[in-house]
Amino acid sequence: MAQVITDQQGIKHYMITINVNGDDYTRVVKANTVLVNVLRDELDLTGTKKGCELGNCGSCTILLEGKPVDSCMILAIEADGRSITTIEGIADSAELDKVQESFINNGAIQCGYCTPGMILSAKALLTRNPHPNEHEVREAIAGNLCRCTGYVNIVKAVLKVAEEPNDKGVISNE
C-alpha cells in the first residue's frame, strides 16, 4: 500500500513507485490522479496521447504488465509497484521495434496521433499470438480509433510482422 501523506488542507497524497520502461520512478500523486497524467506531466513521456479521457479512443494505450490498457482509465495509485511500457520503451535500443518499422514502411501512419497506442495494442497481440489472422488483428486494435487510415494499412502492417518467422536467424540466404 502506498505511503499516505496528508497536506495542510487535509487532502491525502500517495507516494507510489512505478516501473516505466525498465526504470523505477517514485512520485507523489492524489487519489484521483490518472496514470496518463503521471506519464505525460511528471515523466514527460508525451508519446502517450490523450484523445478523449473517457477510455473511448485508445490513444493513451500503454502496456501494464504487458497488457494493453487505456492509461486514462487507470488511477496512478492502481499502478503502484507495477511495470509499464510506453511507446518510448517499446524498442530496446536505438533500433526500432519491428512493429514500428512495419508501420512506417506500410503507410500505416498518417497524422500519427493514434500511432503509439495502436503500436502498443499490436505489440501486445503479437507477443501473446505471434501469427494472428486478420480478424484477430482487427479485434486487437478495435479499441484504438484512427480517423485517417481506415485501418487498411495498419492491419496490413501488423499482418506483415505476423508473417515473419519468429526466429530471424533461420533465414540466412536473404
Binding site: K49, Q100, I109, Y113, G150, V152
Partner: protein, 767 residues
C-alpha cells in the same frame, strides 16, 4: 515529356514516420514551457439566452487562478473565417447563441484548478426561445439568432444556367426526390489546443492548425498587430479534416490571458468541447429534380437546398456555394438551376468537413439518379456512363475541366467489382451500388480577398551539398504533404529524397502558403515547390557547366549525379561537388518558387466558388449484405477507382482514399451528432458518436486510371477529399439494390433500413 522520374511516383516512407512511430513527435498539447499556465473557456449552458450579468469575483479568489477574462477584457471586433459574414466575438457580450458559446476564460496553474474556477464564475441568464429546427428558422416570428440577419437567413443563393423549364418540358421523364443529411463532426483524434506566448509586443502561438496563414491574418487583425509581430507555428497536427482551419477561440483567449499574466498559456478543448465548437458538416435538406430523355441522358437539373448553419457563419458561405456549384462536375448537362438558404440556428456552427459542402448533395443526386435509372430500366453503371463528363469540357456554371477520366474510372470500377456479373444476380439481401465523385484541386480564390499568391516555397542547399531544406508554408496535418513536397523538391532539383529536410508551416521562417484545405497542396504548393527545385537545378547546372567545361544545356542532374546528355563518356560530377563550389564562389544556393492561379470562373454572382485549376474524378462501387430481420448492414467490399493525375506517392495516395472512404462510410451508416430539445448534444464523445472501428471496415480496393493534368505539377491533382464524395450515395444505392427500399435520410442506419423494409412489406407508401 519524359516519364522517367527519379523521385516522384515512388512510395517513399513518410518523412516524419520515425518521429511518429517512436512517440517523439510533439503535438501542441505535448508542449511545455517554463512558467506555463493552463487556460480554459467557459461555455454557455443554454442554446439561446441573454447575458444579464457575469460575476467572476469568486473565481478570482480561488488559489492558483491567475486571470479571469470576459468580453470586457478583449477586443470587441467581430471575426470569422468568411469575411462576408464576420459574426463571432471572442466572448459573448449580450447573448449566447448555442450550448457551448464562449462566455469567459480562466488561466490557472493547472488543469484541475481551471475546471474549479470555471464553476465559480456566476453568469445570470435570461433564457430565450431557441431556433433548433432549421426548416422553421425562416418562419415569420421565429426567434432571431442574429438581429442583423432577418428570418435567420445567413446565406441565400440563386443561380440559373441555361433554361431548366424548357429542358423539363422537353424531357421524356422528370422526377423529383427529397433527401435529408445529418450533422457530422470531423472528430480528429487529437483535440484542439494552442500555446500562446505574448511577450515584448510579439505574439507567438503554437497551434494545432490547418492554416498558419489564416490564423496569423485573423489574429493580427483582431488585436491590431502587424502580421510580422504574430508568429504562428504549427506543431504536428493529429488530424483536421476541415475542423482546424479557422481560429477556434482558444488562440484569442489564450493570447489575452498570456498578455495579462505575462506567462505562456496553454488552452485546449476536451472532447465534449470539441463537439460544441464543431465546424463539422452541415445538415442539408435537398430537393432534386431532373429531366432526362428516353436513354437517360440528363437534360436539366433543379436543386433546392436548406442548410442548417448553426449559430455562426464559420466557412458556411463556401459550404453553401459548394453544395450546389459542385453538382455540375461529374455529369454533363447544360441547364441547371439551384436555390439555397443557409439558416442560422441555435446549434453549434457548421463549417468545412472533408469534401466540404459536396458529399450530402452528391448522396442526394446519386440516389436520385438511381431512382431515375430504375424507372427507365437502365443499369446504374450504364446511366452514369451515358452522362459522364468528358475531358476538356466546360460545366454549365463555367468551370473549366481539363483532365477527366471519369469514363475510364467507371469502366474499371465495373470491371474489378464484377458489376456486370453481379448486378441483378446477387443472392437475397445482397446488393451492389455505384456512385461518382469529383473535387477541386485547390480553390481558385483564397478565403479572404487578397492578391497574395496561392503558394510560395524556398529551398536552401547546405554548404557542402549533403542536404537541402525545403521551406514551405504548406501544412501537413497527417495527409503527408511534407513527404510529397520533399519528393517534388528533390525531383525538381535532380536530387535525392533521402537528403531532403523540411521546415514547414511556421509564419516566421517559411514563405506564405494558404494551408491545408480544399485539397490544394499537391497542386498549388507542389507547383511552387517544383519551381523552387527547378531554380536550384538551373543554378547547379550552370555551376557544373564551368566545372565540366560543357554547355549547361547539355547537362542533366538526377538523383544527385550531374552528367552530359550528349557525351555518355564524359565524367559525371556530383550534386554535392557542384553545390559546394557554388557556395564557395557565389554564396548560398537558394531556389524560390511561386504559384499564382490563373483567373478562373464566370462573372455571375458567386462564380468564384468551385473554380479550381483542376478536378479529380472517381467512381465507387460497394457491395452490402442486409439482414432482413434487423436491417443490419454488413459492408462486404468497396472498390474505388480514381483519376488524380500523375501520382506523386502511391502509398500515401491510397492512404488518402482509404481514409476518405472510411470517413464517408462512417457518415453513411453510423455517424450523427444528436441534440435534445434544448439544443444540448446527446453524444459528445467517441463512445456514442460512432466512428467505425477496425472491425467495422470491409475489404477496400483502391485503384487508379492513367491520367495527366496539364495544370498540375508533373500532371498531378487532388485526392484527399474527392473520395468522400460518392460514398454515401454509393451505400444508399447498394441498399436500394439489395432490398428495393430507398432510405431518404442520412445516416442510413439499421433502424431506418428496417423501417423502410417494414413499410414496403406492409405496402405503406411514403411521399
Amino acid at each position: 515529356m519524359s516519364e522517367n522520374y527519379s523521385v516522384i511516383g515512388k512510395s517513399v516512407p513518410k518523412i516524419d514516420g520515425r518521429e511518429k512511430a517512436t512517440g517523439a513527435a510533439k503535438y501542441t498539447g505535448d508542449l511545455k514551457f517554463p512558467n506555463m499556465l493552463f487556460g480554459k473557456i467557459l461555455g454557455s449552458p443554454h442554446a439561446h439566452a441573454k447575458i444579464l450579468s457575469i460575476d467572476t469575483s469568486e473565481a478570482e479568489k480561488l488559489p492558483g487562478v491567475k486571470a479571469v477574462i470576459t468580453h470586457k477584457d478583449v477586443p470587441t471586433l467581430k471575426y470569422g473565417i468568411s469575411p462576408a459574414r464576420w459574426d463571432e466575438n471572442i466572448f459573448c457580450s449580450d447573448k449566447v447563441r448555442f450550448v457551448g458559446d464562449k462566455v469567459a476564460a480562466v488561466a490557472c496553474i493547472d488543469e484541475e484548478t481551471c475546471y474549479k474556477a470555471l464553476k465559480l464564475i456566476k453568469v445570470e441568464y435570461e433564457v430565450l426561445p431557441a431556433v433548433l429546427d432549421p426548416l422553421h428558422a425562416m418562419d415569420e416570428g421565429a426567434p432571431q439568432v442574429h438581429d442583423e440577419y432577418p428570418r435567420n437567413i445567413n446565406t441565400e443563393i440563386h443561380q440559373n444556367f441555361g433554361d431548366v423549364e424548357k429542358a423539363f418540358a422537353e424531357a421524356y421523364y422528370v422526377r423529383t426526390d427529397y433527401f435529408v443529411g445529418q450533422r457530422t463532426y470531423q472528430s480528429p483524434i487529437e483535440p484542439h489546443s494552442a500555446v500562446s506566448i505574448w511577450k515584448d509586443n510579439k505574439l507567438t502561438i503554437y497551434s494545432s492548425t490547418q492554416s498558419p496563414h489564416y490564423f496569423q491574418h485573423y489574429i493580427a487583425r483582431e488585436f491590431g498587430l502587424k502580421m510580422g509581430d504574430v508568429r504562428i507555428i504549427k506543431t504536428y497536427v493529429g488530424g483536421g479534416f476541415g475542423g482546424k482551419l479557422e481560429p477556434t477561440g482558444l488562440e484569442f483567449a489564450g493570447a489575452v490571458l498570456s498578455r495579462l499574466t505575462g506567462r505562456p498559456v496553454k488552452t485546449f478543448y476536451d472532447r465534449h468541447e470539441m463537439f460544441a465548437h464543431n465546424r463539422g458538416r452541415h445538415r442539408e435538406y435537398m430537393e432534386m429534380t431532373t429531366g432526362v430523355d428516353k436513354e437517360g441522358k440528363i437534360l436539366g437539373v433543379y436543386a433546392n437546398f436548406v442548410m442548417d448553419g448553426g449559430a455562426y457563419t464559420s466557412l458556411g458561405i463556401a459550404s453553401a456555394y459548394y453544395a450546389g456549384a459542385l453538382l455540375t462536375l461529374t455529369y454533363e448537362f447544360e441547364n441547371y438551376k439551384w436555390d439555397l438558404h443557409r439558416v442560422y440556428t441555435n446549434l453549434p456552427a457548421c463549417g468545412a468537413q472533408r469534401g466540404h459542402g459536396a458529399p450530402q448533395p452528391k448522396y442526394a443526386y446519386e440516389s436520385h439518379l438511381d431512382n431515375i435509372a430504375k424507372e427507365l430500366g437502365i443499369d446504374p453503371l450504364e446511366i452514369r456512363l451515358r452522362n459522364a463528363r468528358r475531358p476538356n469540357t466546360v460545366t454549365a456554371n463555367e468551370f473549366i475541366i481539363n483532365s477527366c477520366e471519369l469514363t475510364a474510372c467507371l469502366e474499371k470500377a465495373g470491371e474489378i467489382s464484377g458489376w456486370r456479373e453481379k448486378k441483378g444476380n446477387l443472392p437475397k439481401g445482397r446488393g451492389i451500388g455505384i456512385a461518382t465523385g469529383s473535387f477541386v484541386s485547390g480553390a481558385g480564390y483564397p478565403i479572404y480577398r487578397t492578391d497574395l499568391p496561392q503558394a510560395a516555397a524556398m529551398i536552401k542547399v547546405h554548404e557542402d551539398g549533403s542536404a537541402a531544406t525545403l521551406y514551405t508554408g504548406a501544412t501537413d496535418i497527417g495527409q503527408g504533404s511534407d513527404t510529397i513536397l520533399c519528393q517534388m523538391a528533390a525531383e525538381g532539383m535532380g536530387y535525392r529524397y533521402e537528403n531532403m529536410k523540411i521546415i514547414a508551416a511556421d509564419t516566421e521562417t517559411t514563405p506564405h502558403d494558404f494551408g491545408a484545405y480544399a485539397s490544394r497542396q499537391t497542386l498549388m504548393s507542389g507547383t511552387a515547390v517544383k519551381r523552387a527545385g527547378e531554380e536550384i537545378k538551373k543554378q547547379i547546372l550552370d555551376m557544373a557547366s564551368t566545372m565540366m567545361n560543357l554547355p549547361p544545356d547539355d547537362l542533366e542532374c538526377r538523383e544527385g549525379i550531374i552528367f552530359s546528355i550528349s557525351r555518355p563518356n564524359a565524367t559525371p560530377i556530383t550534386f554535392e561537388e557542384a553545390a559546394r563550389r557554388f557556395f564557395v564562389l557565389r554564396g548560398p544556393l537558394i531556389g524560390r518558387g511561386v504559384y499564382v492561379v490563373p483567373r478562373l470562373g464566370g462573372t455571375y454572382k458567386g462564380a468564384a466558388v468551385g473554380t479550381s485549376p483542376a478536378y479529380s474524378y472517381c467512381a465507387q462501387i460497394t457491395e452490402v449484405q442486409i439482414d432482413e430481420e434487423t436491417g443490419e448492414i454488413d459492408v462486404r467490399e468497396i472498390w474505388d477507382v480514381h483519376d488524380c493525375g500523375k501520382v506523386i506517392n502511391p502509398m500515401l495516395l491510397h492512404g488518402q482514399v482509404h481514409g476518405a472512404l472510411y470517413m464517408g462510410m462512417g457518415e453513411s451508416i453510423w455517424e450523427q451528432v444528436l441534440f435534445d430539445d434544448k439544443g444540448k448534444i446527446l453524444n459528445p464523445h467517441l463512445g456514442e458518436y460512432r466512428l467505425p472501428t477496425a472491425l467495422d471496415m470491409p475489404i477496400i480496393h483502391s485503384e487508379l486510371v492513367e491520367s495527366f493534368e496539364p495544370a498540375g505539377p508533373w500532371g498531378a491533382k487532388e485526392v484527399g477529399e474527392g473520395a468522400t464524395n460518392p460514398t454515401m450515395g454509393c451505400f444508399s444505392n447498394a441498399i436500394f439494390d439489395a432490398m428495393g427500399v430507398r432510405v431518404n435520410s442520412l445516416p442510413l442506419t439499421y433502424e431506418k433500413v428496417w423501417r423502410a423494409m417494414k413499410e414496403k412489406r406492409e405496402g405503406i407508401t411514403k411521399d
